[in-house]
């Protein structure tokens, strides 16, 4: 059966969107289907994100807008999957497009229908804490911004039909079925939060002031039901004492789910911090069993919560909640880790609910024919967490297991990476480059400006005197046409604009309507189709920032609209056509590091016929994985590794260099030049490549504590693993004691090494299997078996392995006595105990190779974090790439992680790389910095201010040392220009002259 170059992505949360963008950019046709009426998923509901407290909406909405208008991505909302046929490379999917009763193409999202609708419906986006009308959009920044009528509530009064000037409301509109043909499928349905059932012991549903964490998230949000004020639902009072109860529906065998939901500890901490930030008098308390801050910089975040924000953590188990009927305060009864039962009173209780599989998981598995695991999450390959049980169908995000945003984004790209591997030969076959007329030459001609002013139904027209404003616009210098339209964004107006451009031979166009953030691309496209350079356009925002915010002052609103239009016209007069610089791409890759991550990346790339240079500093491939025999889940690492190495060595397109050292890397995205020396004889090799993937890995911590090295019965976990997998010495051991967090979570290495808990439990269980007689004791601070790893924690306890917690401040003490080892440890509950043992195993952490990373970082101009791990471009949304374009990141050099995660990251890096490698040319954005070297004096301030390494100082024959801008790397932020004393740097599209004209073009 023939492969097809298109992909179906199911679910348009952050994961689905990321996958779609990756694939769209890589030249595949993408069908993105979403069951609700707009994209963004849970992330769009969040107020802030951990551990950076970034504003979720700020960082996600640009991505959503991009997804919504990507020319290779077809977005279908409010759909249902009916049927899936075919096999990897060629599926046929039948989709039901449920009617919105609103014509998507006509609706301008102006919202008048919603405002006029008489019936109230529950606002699901705000978790039912607020209400909106039956005709509604999911949230203000929704993409696509299309209203939908909820027929469950609609009384068919027809008001919306009447008020909709765009004639978009169509009651009679029917559902529609369509069939699409795709080569691969990515499932990204996300998760559904756990809702405590009737009669739960926390009184959720019974007590008004018990809310779930996701409800609380909305309460925190500035755009939420209480617009950012923290009030309790019962009486709208400010809750001074807030309790956060952890593991609600997680790690709970009775009424919840047995696995760990992975994210609760962190998002709760975040909510506590933000709550404190919003209202300082508030005291958050978090009741938890363990604190699972296993991710990058997570422990630091917990620390900040405690130190800076005074968040209180109580290790405990909650017995139950009662409500004080008078005050509606809540009494929390819990047992703390010393075994004492205590009661405390709180004004508000937040249940940190766990992540459940999506409610329609079973339905999806049946339709797509993919297996689920025992909890109805999708079952994935043991070494490739995005590969479902059915070839050609991949999954990502919380559907594979509970996870946070960066891991979801990584998996999304990873899935896209696997799709690339599957469909690479079909790349670009189904996307259509639309043909455009040649650009009209306008340089040097006097400006002929056309102004189109939008009524936006009554959204503008109702408050701003549009006819007057239009008349006024007509009087402005260089304006040869001032026209007004009911909806300037409507399809028919686009044709009108094109006609007018020809008729009046306009060479500048301004539109006064809504916000350029959503509509500029549309109009730019229109004028481009009319033959004008797309940058000869300027917008005046007279709706969102005028008519809608001055509804009670029509005259003032009108005056303001005039001002804004005058400013736009003044600026338009100075606009020059811009062209996007194009640069050829060398379709080759440099992969630095021959560990699992590096090799997986190289294999994937080579599979896609991209020549790849894999360089390894050591003499053999394999890296850190060479010390690991199995995964906790039972995967055979050594076997996987040797197969992988064989594939690498046998692949013609992969050039492997061992004992290699990079001498120099120069160039930039698409065009790097690298020289290395390798092998015994230090041979020199030079090659060109388009991208770099950094997978340099990390090292095992070399312990000095606990008498390591003084006694050969005290060994590292890796040594122990080797011992139990290669010898049967363990049979002779009566007792083994494992000490956790050696070289992790201390002042020297203030982060969690993430895998040690799993490794310890894995080897403990194995020990028990080999010799049930051996007593195994694990001394720990927190057991961080996140996700499904939690099950092995339970399994271990059932297998009779002892877990004894000690406090950071009171580490165990190890003594060597003549024939055996003694460990003294203090546990909060049982107090000081001493254990005799004949083997001590130290679970040592992962440490970055500071020196090497430093050196590499300098060479690539990429940053490190405080712990010397590489610092990605954006912690949440760009986890596998650097701010410097064309350089990607995978594996342990990013932060400690499991083998599966490393593999995901490697495939993700490949996917991101494919967005570049798949093109013969990359195109730079037009609105970038440009420099006048006659003015530049080479002081170098811009070089320092540029976050993208887009500027360097060069020696000009005539003007000496001057700055030179790489417009391909430039993002046009203007940080350089803002500081430039001699105004040598200007930002095209936002030039000093344009802004000058706007400033001086005010109304007296």
């Amino acid at each position: 059966m023939k492969k097809v170059g298109s992909v179906l992505v199911v679910g348009a949360g952050i994961g689905g969107s990321q996958a779609s963008l990756d694939l769209g950019d890589a030249g595949y046709k993408v069908y993105l289907v979403e069951s609700t009426t707009s994209i963004g998923g849970v992330m769009a509901q969040l107020d802030k994100t951990f551990p950076t407290n970034d504003c979720a909406m700020c960082i996600v909405s640009p991505k959503l807008v991009e997804t919504g208008r990507h020319q290779n991505v077809d977005l279908f909302i409010n759909v249902e999957i009916l049927d899936v046929k075919g096999e990897a490379g060629n599926f046929t999917v039948k989709i039901l497009k449920k009617t919105l009763h609103v014509n998507v193409d006509k609706c301008t999202g102006c919202g008048i229908c919603g405002r006029e609708c008489p019936v109230e419906a529950i606002d699901i986006f705000n978790e039912g804490l607020a209400r909106h009308s039956a005709t509604s959009v999911k949230y203000p920044q929704a993409v696509p911004l299309v209203y939908a009528i909820n027929r469950d509530y609609c009384i068919g009064c027809g008001i919306c039909l009447g008020v909709c000037k765009a004639k978009a409301v169509e009651y009679g509109m029917e559902d529609e079925i369509m069939e699409i043909n795709v080569g691969a499928i990515i499932l990204a349905p996300g998760f559904d939060e756990y809702i405590p059932p009737e009669g739960n012991k926390y009184g959720y549903g019974k007590f008004k002031n018990v809310v779930t964490s996701i409800e609380f998230e909305r309460i925190l949000s500035a755009s939420g039901p209480y617009s950012g004020k923290i009030l309790r639902p019962s009486d709208g009072d400010v809750p001074e004492k807030v309790a956060f109860l952890q593991c609600i529906g997680s790690r709970d065998y009775r009424d919840g789910q047995p696995y760990c939901s992975s994210v609760c500890c962190m998002y709760t901490t975040k909510e506590a911090i933000i709550a404190k930030e919003h209202m300082n008098l508030l005291n958050p308390t978090i009741f938890s069993m363990d604190i699972r801050a296993y991710g990058k910089d997570f422990d630091k975040y917990i620390h900040r919560a405690q130190e800076e924000y005074g968040v209180r953590y109580i290790r405990s188990r909650i017995s139950h909640l009662e409500e004080d009927p008078k005050t509606q305060d809540l009494i929390v009864t819990y047992e703390d880790e010393t075994g004492i039962i205590a009661k405390e009173m709180y004004n508000l209780a937040v249940l940190s609910v766990g992540l459940n599989p999506p409610n329609d998981a079973v339905y999806l598995s049946e339709k797509f024919g993919v297996d689920l695991n025992e909890f109805n999450f999708v079952r994935t390959d043991i070494f490739n967490p995005v590969q479902t049980s059915r070839a050609g169908i991949f999954a990502c995000g919380a559907f594979t297991s509970p996870k946070d945003i960066p891991e979801t984004v990584t998996q999304a790209s990873a899935a896209a990476g696997c799709v690339n591997q599957l469909l690479h030969d079909q790349r670009g076959t189904l996307i259509t480059e639309k043909s455009l007329p040649p650009e009209i030459f306008v340089a040097g001609q006097p400006p002929r400006i056309g102004a189109f002013i939008c009524h936006c139904g009554i959204n503008i027209g109702g408050y701003v005197d549009v006819p007057e404003v239009t008349r006024y616009a007509g009087t402005l210098p260089n304006v040869v046409l001032a026209d007004r339209n009911l909806y300037t964004c409507s399809a028919d107006t686009q044709t009108i604009i094109k006609e007018k451009i020809k008729e009046y031979n306009l060479n500048r166009v301004i539109v006064a309507s809504c916000t350029p953030r959503t509509h500029e691309p549309l109009f730019q496209e229109t004028i481009r189709e009319a033959g004008l350079n797309r940058y000869l356009f300027q917008m005046a925002n007279i709706r969102d920032q005028c008519s809608w915010v001055h509804m009670h002052e029509p005259e003032e609103a009108t005056r303001k609209a005039k001002d804004l239009i005058r400013m736009a016209v003044n600026s338009a007069r100075e606009i020059q056509p811009l062209e996007r610089i194009r640069l050829s791409v060398t379709p080759k890759v440099l992969v630095i590091g021959g560990g699992i991550s590096g090799m997986v990346a190289a294999r994937n790339l080579a599979f896609q016929e991209f020549e790849t240079y894999l360089i390894e500093k050591g003499s053999v491939l394999g890296g850190h994985a060479r010390n690991i025999y199995t995964t906790l889940e039972g995967g055979n690492v050594q076997e996987y590794l040797s197969n992988l190495i064989n594939e690498i060595n046998s692949n013609k397109l992969i050039h492997v260099y061992t004992q290699a050292k990079i001498e120099n890397i120069e160039g930039y995205i698409g065009n790097f030049k690298t020289s290395i020396i390798h092998g015994e004889k230090k041979e020199k090799v030079k090659f060109k490549h388009g991208v770099v993937i950094v997978a340099t890995g990390a090292d095992e911590y070399e312990p000095t504590e606990f008498l390591y090295g003084k006694d050969d019965r005290i060994i590292k976990q890796s040594e122990f693993e080797k011992l139990i997998n290669t010898t049967d010495d363990i049979r002779k051991k009566k007792s083994v004691v494992m000490i956790q967090c050696v070289g992790s979570r201390n002042t020297e290495h203030p982060y969690c090494s993430r895998m040690c808990c799993a490794e310890a439990i894995k080897n403990a269980i194995k020990t028990k299997e080999l010799n049930p007689e051996t007593e195994v004791i694990i001394l720990y601070r927190d057991i961080r078996t996140y996700g499904f790893k939690e099950l092995y924690y339970r399994k271990a306890r059932e297998a009779g392995i002892f877990f004894i917690r000690f406090d950071e401040t009171k580490p165990p003490e190890v003594r060597v006595e003549k024939d055996n080892l003694k460990i003294i440890v203090e546990n909060p509950k049982i107090g000081k105990i001493s254990i005799d043992s004949d083997m001590i195993v130290l679970s040592v952490g992962i440490v970055a190779n500071g020196v090497e990373n430093e050196e590499m970082g300098k060479m690539l101009k990429v940053p490190l974090n405080e712990d010397n791990f590489y610092l990605e471009a954006h912690v949440k949304l760009r986890p596998v790439e650097f701010a410097t374009e064309g350089i990607f990141l995978a594996g342990l050099s990013h932060c400690p992680k499991s083998i599966e995660d490393s593999i995901s990251q490697a495939n993700a890096a490949v996917s991101r790389a494919c967005t570049i490698l798949s093109k013969d040319e990359i195109e730079a954005e037009g609105k970038v910095a440009c420099i006048d070297i006659t003015r530049c004096s080479g002081c170098g301030m811009c070089v320092e201010n540029c976050a993208y390494n887009a500027i360097e100082l060069i020696l000009d024959r005539r003007f000496g040392l001057v700055a030179s801008i790489n417009q391909v790397l430039c993002k046009g932020c203007g940080a350089c220009s803002g500081n430039c004393r001699c105004s040598a740097i200007d930002i095209l599209g936002f030039t000093g002259e344009q802004i000058y004209e706007m400033i001086t073009g005010r109304v007296e």
Binding site: T934, S937, C939, N979, R981, C982
Partner: protein
Amino acid sequence: MVILMGNIQEENKNIEHSMKEVAYNLLKNKEVDLIIGYAKGTIPLSSSPSFIINQKDVDNLIWDNLCHVNLARYVVPPITKIIDNENIPLKVGIVSKGCVGRSLIHLAKENQVNLENIKIIGISCNGIINRKRIEKELGEKEIIELSVMNSEIIAKGVDFVKTFFFDDYLNESCKKCKIKAPPMVSSQSNVIVGGSVESSSGEDDFSDLTEHESKTPEEKWQTIVELLSPCTRCYACREACPMCYCNLCFVDQNKPIWFGKTTDMSDIVSFHLVRAMHVAGRCVACGSCSSACPMGIDLTFITRKLEKIVKQRFDFTSGLSFDILPPMMTQKMNDKEDFMIGEH
């Protein structure tokens, strides 16, 4: 020309002596092609920057409390010589009081001077006399001779003798100056010959600014207008400033003409405001701008504020180190935000 007696005189004599010695040897050992220093002025209250290439001329060098010009100004752009069509930069020894040394260090950070071609002849400056102030206070009497004795400045005229207290009649920036000699910069130690100090900015209470800062906006504006109204827009301040090396000053730019060149008050103020903005975090408080101003405007009043801002906001003092980036070249997550508006 200054005739010195008593302690300051001694000081300056020693300074002058050792400075000449260093300069002489530099030329003799061909370590430099050229020495830039100060020579005796032709009129009272003056000194003249002098370029010396012959050992025998070293004796013309002087050091006194009127050597006000910031000599760093002369090495941007670098002094070069064309040797068979190649523009070869000359090796230059610069007589450097603290602020000159700092200028050179900062200019090196901004790639304007290459310290490989520079020898900083460090001298420990004991302050520059505020000649403009003395002239003004003497009103329309001509000074024929100015001398410093012990702690007093003595001005002689045809028909008068007047004395001023030395410490009071120094440039404002000199009064508070903590860095008398070029800062010792470990990485570039070879550059500095002669005196130098450990690079530390010392404490400064900026008490001289508190009076103005406590005024109302209206009063502040009045003070500024009064200060700047004599400005003829001759740009002597700019030309004398070692940090003003732009090829085209913002005020000379057109397309667009951001700021007028007229003597309209708001044009004058905007020029000095923007210029202050441009030297913020770079100004080494040498006071050249002030002493160059033909109209006797004391611009150190503004530069002092700049010092204060960068010191207090970013704990930065310009020209002390190669390793610290100047404030405008970098940024910190936790910079103070006290100046920003919030909901509460």
